[in-house]
Symmetry: C2
Subunit: 210 residues, 2 copies
């Protein structure tokens, strides 16, 4: 009986792998969660955010006459394959992005499918090579709340070297409170997607543990 269950479990995992497929990412790791169907906007959006480890975080630069200032940052929305959709960051005010956000929280995070390595020969600007921009408010997490613990765990798991970054640089945890989602994952313009649809989608997680 025990053997039967084990075999059944092994067989299910095998079928799951064949069904879901495995894809090489640009970073050399295997993606266990296959890119969702482009018609499923919420799942695609969550996949893009949870599979990427970095993006461009945009703020309003007071130093540069109110210009939109993009900065390459690492982020995490949770433990690997257990993302919740809200991006967290580990930033220092030695960098203009954190300074800008403390003066004006308006911000966006932009992520491309291209560096994941699943766009094939498509151009990075081809609409079938997905991209997402989450617009909202970039907020400093203060104190030692549960959310700070979550952010620390989410970030340090995906970005192990962060834990050793210089204490004197005063890195702090920030999060993006999402107010608008711009998603292109196929031809025909941006996909309609509400914040609730995005945050409540658990298909990636379900797919990973099914």
């Amino acid at each position: 009986m025990g053997i039967k269950i084990s075999f059944s479990c092994f067989y299910s995992m095998y079928i799951l792998c064949v069904f879901l497929g495995t894809q090489d990412s640009a970073q050399g790791r295997l993606l266990l969660i296959k890119k969702p169907d482009p018609n499923d906007a919420a799942a695609t959006a969550r996949w893009l955010v949870s599979q990427n480890s970095w993006g461009v975080l945009n703020t309003i630069s007071t130093d540069l006459g109110g210009a939109p200032f993009g900065n390459v940052v690492s982020f995490s929305d949770g433990l690997p394959d257990k993302g919740r959709g809200v991006p967290y960051f580990y930033l220092t005010t030695l960098d203009p992005t954190a300074r800008n956000a403390l003066k004006d929280q308006r911000s966006s995070l932009t992520i491309s499918e291209y560096p994941i390595g699943t766009c094939g020969k498509r151009d990075p600007e081809n609409p079938a090579c997905a991209k997402i921009t989450l617009t909202g408010k970039l907020k400093l997490l203060e104190g030692n709340s549960k959310e700070v613990e979550f952010a620390r765990s989410a970030l340090f798991t995906k970005h192990p070297e962060m834990e050793g970054w210089p204490k004197g640089h005063n890195f702090q945890f920030f999060k993006l409170d999402i107010e608008d989602i711009f998603l292109i994952d196929w031809f025909g313009g941006p996909k309609p997607l509400t914040i609730d649809q995005y945050l409540q989608c658990n298909k990636n997680e379900v797919a990973a543990i099914r």
Copy 2:
């Protein structure tokens, strides 16, 4: 004599390759121009711009309350290994970025070394994994000027599928007139770099044809 010259040329190319090194990029092509020394800010900046094919272009979104809106775009600063440093884009007003720029030209282009594939195991936010933000004005190129010809050639060579994009979408050429450069390529904060130093640096080109 002819044989001697050919051999000498071949030998020089061989030495050049050994000297410059070849590096695998994330896109699977060989980089013939090695990453410059981080102390050479101008060469590093030009290398980042000429070796990358895409970045995040940020504009001010009137639709989203003046928020900074980043968008994944393809760009080119010239023919392969002959970049001039000024990024050109092929955009349609079906997309918010071009619409935003026609209302407010303030813009920035953000590029990371990470997708080039030369950061090794460094985190994308590690300062030794270089990043650059060019801030300035995003301008529509009108008419059939020599600059439009240059932009077309620069973009369609690096992004061949662009030439076949739907005519009805009214793609147009834009360029970023650079007013400020934010470059991080090592520890110790942003590297001082003027627009003139950046535009007048031809080390990449020299290294390629030396």
